[in-house]
Amino acid sequence: MPDGIQRPLLSVRDAYVTFGSLQALIGVSVDVREGEILAIIGPNGAGKTTLINVISGVYHPSPGQVFFEGKDRTRLHPDRVADLGIARTFQNVALFKGMTTLDNLMVGRHLQMKSGLFASGCYWGWGQKEEIKHREAVEDIIDFLEIEAIRKTPAGMLPYGMQKRVELGRALAAEPKLLLLDEPMAGMNLEEKEDMARFILDANEERGLTICLIEHDMGVVMDISDRLVVLEYGTKIAEGTPEEIRTNPDVIRAYLGAHGKKVKEAL
């Protein structure tokens, strides 16, 4: 576990995001340290997805700044943000339903591949070599996530749990430096969650990926995260290790209203 003395990989400073009269984020500052797994938790409507969207470049905070690898990246468009090495999954699975699992993963390779118009159209030759090279990389991920059987299945026909796994694969295919996961385990049963947790941990430990995830399942979050950030109504109310968060009175109070005893026990 890194000790965070070096500059953070990603830094959100004082971000404000407002939609009309709704203040989604109010002066939120978060640091993500290289190599760690940071969890963002909080009751519904706290602004967690908004924060991820700010990091992705979907929303631009005003005021507020986003730094990646030390450089100011606040105004970047989402496709440029991906180019920096930030990949993500979505709360409502955003797979390309008209394409197979394999194709979805290969789309993830988009930025790594260099085939242009003529290489693609004329295929035989350099285009084919590129395609095979990246197919090999994608097969590596298919292997890692154990999804060989559904390679050629159209993504729209996969069961929900598999879709989420494929989405993770698509994000991994981009060989990112930072992985953002928005509720990767939502709607999964216990076994699926354990698998997913294993993949996330492996991605972090074996591939050295920095991971930032939003998740509601407290048990999982406490188990796999290095640090947590807690949001409520658009503000950050706590930050720290699982132990610290577990005993933080503000956090308990924030959850108590909605979940009561159950949450306290999970914590």
Binding site: T49, N53, V58, F90, Q91, A94
Partner: protein
């Protein structure tokens, strides 16, 4: 100098009157969009169908009987469209529904000409065509009738959507199908009603247009004139359809009259679209349209 100004004013006025007619056609589009979120490309062909039908009836039976028959036909058409086209396509993306209405347009045009033939016909509403001179300009009585009718129709429709229970229910439907269903609004009945109303608007527009220029196949292409109107006015705004129609009518007439002679004419064909493109450049959802916010 004064002659050119007078000419320009005349162009503008006659353009405005034509524009009001465009608004009528655009109104049909707005209605269906407001109530079902569908952009109905077939509106122009519905207008053509209505006009051709009335022209054909007009030769055989009194006009008022013909109009009643046509209203009945439009209701049947609305029910048929709802059952055959809309129901199977309920959950599909808007672009697919748009393409389906292109299919309806082709079908209707074929049906209309299949039943009533391809010869251009005249339509008579019992309004004789006088030309009045007002302040040095010439205005036709048909245009005035058209303007008045259009005005009345707009007032009625706005009242319907704002003040009546059915109208408000229809607006709810267009915003969110599922929510409307959960509140107990029968979706299919709502759509049937809307398309029937749009059909009636088509009858009015068809009658006025047919009287003005005669009924021929090019009437179906009115849909093409209505599109820029909707872009300028916004696709879901009733007042926007009126204002958009006026703007397009006046602008295209002015352009044709002032610039046309210098470049060989025909500017009317594409000028509204050029205008629409410019508006879109500034406001991608039209002057009065609402932006669609997508959730990630």
């Amino acid at each position: 100098m004064s002659d050119t100004v007078l000419f320009a004013v005349e162009l503008t006025v006659s353009g405005l009157l034509v524009g009001l007619m465009y608004s009528l056609v655009a109104l049909g589009f707005v209605l269906i969009y407001k109530a079902s979120g569908i952009f109905n490309f077939a509106q122009g062909d519905m207008t053509f169908f209505a006009a051709l039908g009335m022209a054909a009836f007009g030769a055989l039976i009194p006009m008022w009987v013909g109009i009643i028959l046509m209203v009945g036909a439009m209701v049947v058409l609305a029910v048929a469209i709802e059952r055959i086209v809309l129901k199977p396509l309920v959950a599909r993306p808007p672009l697919v529904l748009f393409m389906a209405t292109i299919g309806i347009a082709f079908f209707l045009q074929g049906l209309a000409q299949g039943i009533w033939g391809t010869q251009p016909r005249g339509l008579s509403l019992g309004v004789t065509d006088h030309t009045y001179e007002i302040g040095g300009m010439f205005v036709s009585s048909l245009d005035i009738v058209g303007a008045v009718v259009a005005g009345v129709l707009v007032v009625v429709l706005v009242w319907f959507f704002q003040k009546t229970k059915t109208g408000r229910a229809l607006r709810a439907v267009s915003d969110d199908h599922e929510a409307a269903l959960s509140v107990g609004i029968p979706l299919r009945k709502a759509w049937g009603i809307t398309w029937a109303i749009a059909g009636i608007v088509a009858i009015v527009a068809g009658a006025l247009w047919g009287t003005r220029v005669g009924v021929q196949a090019s009437l179906a292409l009115l849909a093409l004139k209505a599109l820029p109107v909707l872009i300028v006015g916004g696709i879901d705004s009733i007042p926007g359809a009126i204002i958009g129609g006026l703007i397009i009518g006046a602008a295209e007439n002015l352009a044709e009259g002032l610039i046309g002679p210098a470049v060989g004419g025909g500017i009317k064909n594409f000028f509204p679209y050029l205008l629409a493109l410019i508006v879109l450049g500034v406001r991608p959802y039209g002057l009065f349209g609402r932006e669609i916010i997508e959730r990630v």
